[in-house]
Amino acid sequence: MSIVTKKDFVMVRESAGAADSIVRPSESFVKSVMRKMRTNKAAVVTFSYIILVTALAIIAPLVSRYEFDMTNIMDGNKGPSSLHWFGTDAVGRDMWTRIWVGARVSLTIGLFGSIIPEILGIIIGGIAGYFGGVIDSVTMRIIDVGVCIPSLVYITMLMLFLGGGPVTIIAALAMVGWMGPARNVRGRVMQFKNREFVLATKTLGGSTGRLIFKNIMPNIMGQLVVNITSGIPAAIFMEAYLSFIGMGVQSPMTSWGQLSQAGAAVFRIYPYQLLFPGVIISVTILMFYIFGNCLRDALDPKLSN
């Protein structure tokens, strides 16, 4: 049955604007990434884990009955109990407290050991990519040589020179780690600098700074966030490795690597002393990697619906 009647056949005056209205809900890029992350189970689980570990690292040592460097020879090498959840080490220090104090060190190194080389990379790669020419050639040759030397060898040598400690680990990571990001950012900047929206700003008289920082950078930012996220577990691992071979964090200061090193020495007798830090390092690194991958998928416009 038609609901149309004779009187409906009259022309109507239409405002042209109505045809231009947009019905879809507005969603910015950041919002759409957030939505994709929220609806991704793996992302939610890994993110919760990261928040939990960070929170424990901040809170656990504060509310603990023990100081991380408080020794008690009488209580040495005690297994997990209600008094010492994760047991004690050879000199009776509480492992639970030490693990979370170690987490502070390891996570800090992870964060800065990832961010600082990335920022260096952005600056160097951005300049090389945007200006091109001689600056670009020279930078790229330096990087070509730099990346030929395995970073492990490089960092080990730097640590010998600089001495142990969290700050020197970050410094060593920064001196080596900028090359990859620089190469990456250079490529992206070169790809974007001739895109029409960048040219449009150029024809509007925009300065070089505006072109790089306001036009090109936001488009690369997603990639950079992913890089930083996946750089964190790499830096955590590097710290663990350096401390494990005795060139990183030194006792009584602690970190996950230092704990593993101490635990490994007595692994056959007191396995829990390696088990706890070992598991937590592995799980944390895994979680960061998975989170990084989720983030990459969410930021990839090709996978967007």
């Binding site: 040219l199 024809t203 509007l204 008289g205």
Partner: protein, 319 residues
Amino acid sequence: MSEILLDVQGLKKDFRIDGKHILKAVDDVSFTIRRGETLGMVGESGCGKTTVGRTLLRIYEPDGGKISFDGKDISKISKRQEKELTKKMQMIYQDPYASLNSFYTVEDIIGEGLDIHKLYETKAERRERIIELLNVVGLHRDHMNRFPHEFSGGQRQRIGIARALAVNPEFIVCDEAISALDVSIQAQVINMLTKLQKDRNLTYLFIAHDLSMVRYISDNIAVMYMGKIVEYGPTNEVYLHPMHPYTRGLLEAVPVANPDYTKIHKKTPMIGEVTSPINPKPGCRFASRCPVVMDVCRTTDPHMTESENGHKTCCHKYR
């Protein structure tokens, strides 16, 4: 006749490829555009028409020749003068998707020119200008806080037009500004451009490969082939009495929206295709595809010859 706004003489732009080959993208191109008029520039992709537009707006440095704008030589000017010039000369880009920064709201895209040249006193004034510009291109103020990807191609192109208009230019290069749009939307944008031209006495360089739209909007036509202008003249002259064999082939190839036309008109498509002018040999560049090629065409460069009423062509047949 109004005064000449843009005078280009002997413009050249080369690109180096792999360090040794030279691509002569624009080779000795000359033309003038009077204030308030439109020059249509047509030719196949790779003929150098986009490079001409970009060189005029100093995205590329010219390698030779002289560009005068409003009586002043602008081929060699300082950075400061260059920035001032961007207020007078603007560009509308081809790709409605790539030409808007996807991280900006419409407000910030249109406002960018206002920001760069500090064309407002207060935030409220900036907002007002942007709303006014949105109205000019037929969009609504509610669209201001949306992002480019939420708009259709035609709407995005209108945002691009508003961005160019923000600095109140006198001259606009429309670089394939309608090529990526649907037919009905093309007509909308063309109507908008002609209206803006009338209202603001704008001057256009209209670069396109769609010959029927170019014919409609242009006062004069320049046909480019492999970095050179091969034919130049008033629109109707060029369309009704094409001289250069390339222009003829090009016009012949345009499909006509009339099913009877093809039945009457048996067309012979032009053979071959354009190649890039890398290390070009002497002689006419069209010689390899030309249906009426002569011996002289393969050895000597033809010169521009002018017949009556400003119709010029670059072909040995017309000497």
